[in-house]
């Protein structure tokens, strides 16, 4: 029943995204209009995959860090991606794909740095252990540093366009096309399956690292695998849609309220819930103030935060 409801919500979200929009398309033309075929459908599907990826990544990181505040962008990826995007503009890297690619590379560099910082003991060799607390601190530090370098470049540079890098970074799904969707769909399944396969060990890890070890989980490998997969998923999301907040933080908590702590159910539910929320938010962003468009991250916060606050009240009341 719960699953049916979630599936229904996803279908409704996708249908609304295709039917509604600032441009008027007659019902009879829905199948033929290039606006629907080339813009709305790929954008809805891309939003669904991005929202789902962010939510799964957030749920996994919250389990890994054993911290309810963990969010896909907490670990420095937004700073790295932003720096990459600004560098692409400052260096006049041409081509239609320069910005997303540079953001992706920037996110990967931040990821590698944070990962290296997070490895504690064993001199960085095979014996090193990923420490979630150090990972968290390292992520915040790397993100802040990347953000500072980015702002420094913008302050001393004379290209007016550079300021638009911020618009892109907080942008949304404007860059959606069948091509971006295809690229994302070729990439996303691998980290997604890695995380889904880690569902059982993540349940065990929730008991604490020592108990998990006693129960036979390879905690060292698990932490690395989950961190890398979740970050690679987020890096891809940031490349196609910029930094979209709250989805990765809130959707896992909302789903925990309904599905409980079992990751075997929580991760797929987060994927569907995150996808549906982002698609609904993007539809609202396109339609609410038409012909203008709101940044989708603002809408996810406007829809998600009151919902979240309501549930938070209900949970803490019992």
């Amino acid at each position: 029943m719960r699953w049916l409801g979630l599936a229904g919500l996803s279908v409704v979200a996708l249908t609304l995204a295709v039917v509604l929009g600032p441009a008027h398309v007659a019902w009879a033309d829905l199948g033929r209009s290039p606006i629907v075929r080339e813009l709305r459908i790929p954008r809805a599907l891309l939003g669904f995959v991005v929202g789902g990826s962010l939510a799964v990544s957030g749920a996994s990181l919250q389990a890994l860090m054993r911290n309810p505040l963990a969010d896909p962008f907490l670990l420095g990826l937004s700073g790295g991606a932003g720096l990459g995007a600004v560098a692409a503009i400052a260096l006049h890297l041409g081509g239609p794909w320069a910005l997303p690619l540079a953001a992706f590379v920037g996110a990967l560099v931040a990821l590698a740095l944070v990962f290296r910082l997070g490895l504690v003991g064993g001199g960085g060799g095979g014996g090193a252990e990923l420490d979630p607390r150090v990972l968290l601190l390292g992520g915040v530090a790397v993100g802040a540093f990347a953000g500072a370098v980015m702002t420094a470049i913008i302050s001393v540079s004379e290209a007016a366009q550079l300021r638009n890098a911020f618009l892109w970074l907080w942008g949304g799904l404007s860059g959606a096309s069948w091509y971006t969707l295809l690229v994302l769909c070729l990439y996303v399944p691998v980290p997604l399956l890695v995380l889904l396969a880690a569902a059982r060990p993540l349940d065990v890890l929730a008991l604490g690292e020592e108990p998990a070890r006693y129960l036979g989980a390879d905690v060292t490998a698990l932490k690395r695998r989950v961190y890398l997969a979740a970050s690679l998923l987020t890096a891809a999301a940031v490349a196609v849609s910029g930094v979209i907040g709250f989805v990765g933080l809130m959707v896992p908590h909302l789903c925990r309220g309904v599905w409980g702590q079992q990751h075997r159910a929580l991760l797929p539910a987060s994927f569907l819930g995150g996808g549906a929320l982002l698609v609904l938010a993007d539809t609202a962003a396109r339609v609410a103030v038409a012909p203008r468009e709101l940044p989708v991250g603002i809408v996810t916060a406007l829809i998600g935060v009151p919902l979240f606050a309501l549930l938070l009240r209900r949970w803490t009341a019992t």
């Binding site: 366009q161 096309s177 012909p291």
Partner: protein
């Protein structure tokens, strides 16, 4: 970190809207009172403050490209002793020392030029800066320069304070004449796309919308009151402009990068590569060469009429 980034973002937006496109603000106080008692003069600026100078300004720091260009057009170029990094027109302005990029101006850098007048474009940040300058005894003039009619008034105001009031009147009259000239009868529907992701276009609040109208074009986003706005790509596609106007900065001139993006092919003007390239020099800000800008855009649109 996010809060910090938000703030930077806000500042960046502010600059995008203020320095590049021109902020949209409420109509300012339109009174100018110049009293000519013993060489001293008093004017009311666009923030509504009365500014008194003992004599026409001799050392002026200009904190906006549009006022720098205007000051040189007035013949007050030799009186300009400070400019921003963005002030690159006319070429003679390049010889003037730079005081910063004009975003949240460094008051020390401004004061170091020992100005007897600072000219700022109108924004909340700059009104605060003007108040601080006044406190250290430097007269500061806040001037609105978002629309073409603002420019006519700015020309008169700056003409008075620099001692070139007759040139100021001439420039203002020329701009008024351009504004009164009827546009060519057959309209070309166009959109100004200033950024591609997210797509940003120029609305009715911008001087570019005015220039388009005067040159016989119709901005398809004229219904948006703001100077610029983020819109959905499908809105651009549905409004189907005949041509897309592109502001060319110093960056490589040519077809914009989004021309190669698959999702932009839905916009007919992009698919058919119908672009008009506007030199940023002439179209990047409201300028005393408005007549030239209108004539140039009219010529560029002729092919699509």
């Amino acid at each position: 970190m996010r809060r910090w980034a938000d703030r930077i973002h806000l500042a960046a937006r502010l600059l995008v809207s203020v320095a590049v496109l021109g902020a949209c603000g409420r109509a300012g106080d339109r009174q100018t009172a110049a009293s000519q008692a013993s060489g001293a003069l008093t004017v009311t600026d666009d923030a509504g403050h009365r500014v008194t100078l003992p004599a026409p300004a001799r050392r002026i720091v200009s904190v906006a490209p549009s006022s720098t260009e205007l000051l040189f057009a007035l013949g007050a170029g030799p009186q300009v002793v400070g400019r921003t990094t963005w002030c690159k027109y006319p070429p003679a302005a390049l010889a003037v020392p730079v005081i910063g990029d004009g975003l949240n101006p460094s008051l020390e850098a401004v004061a170091a030029r020992r100005p007897d007048l600072v000219v700022l474009y109108r924004s909340a940040l700059n009104e605060a800066a003007a108040a601080q300058l006044a406190r250290i005894g430097v007269p500061a003039l806040v001037v609105k320069q978002d629309r073409l009619e603002d420019l006519a008034r700015a020309a008169q105001l700056l003409g008075v304070v620099t001692g070139h009031s007759s040139t100021g009147d001439t420039i203002a009259a020329a701009i008024d004449a351009v504004l009164r000239t009827p546009p060519p009868p057959r309209h070309v529907r166009l959109a100004f796309v200033v950024w591609d992701n997210p797509p940003m276009v120029i609305g009715a609040g911008s001087y570019l919308d005015q220039i388009a109208g005067l040159a016989g074009g119709v901005n398809v986003f004229h219904d948006i009151p703001a100077a610029s706005a983020t819109v959905s790509l499908e809105t651009i596609a549905a409004r189907d402009p005949q041509v897309i106007a592109v502001l060319d900065d110093s960056t490589p001139v040519g077809e914009p990068a989004y021309t190669a993006r698959p999702e932009w092919q839905v916009v007919r003007a992009v698919r058919l590569r119908r672009f008009v390239h506007l030199p940023a020099d002439l179209f990047g800000r409201p300028s005393p060469r408005t007549a030239e800008a209108v004539a140039e855009l009219r010529r560029l649109l002729e092919a699509w009429r």
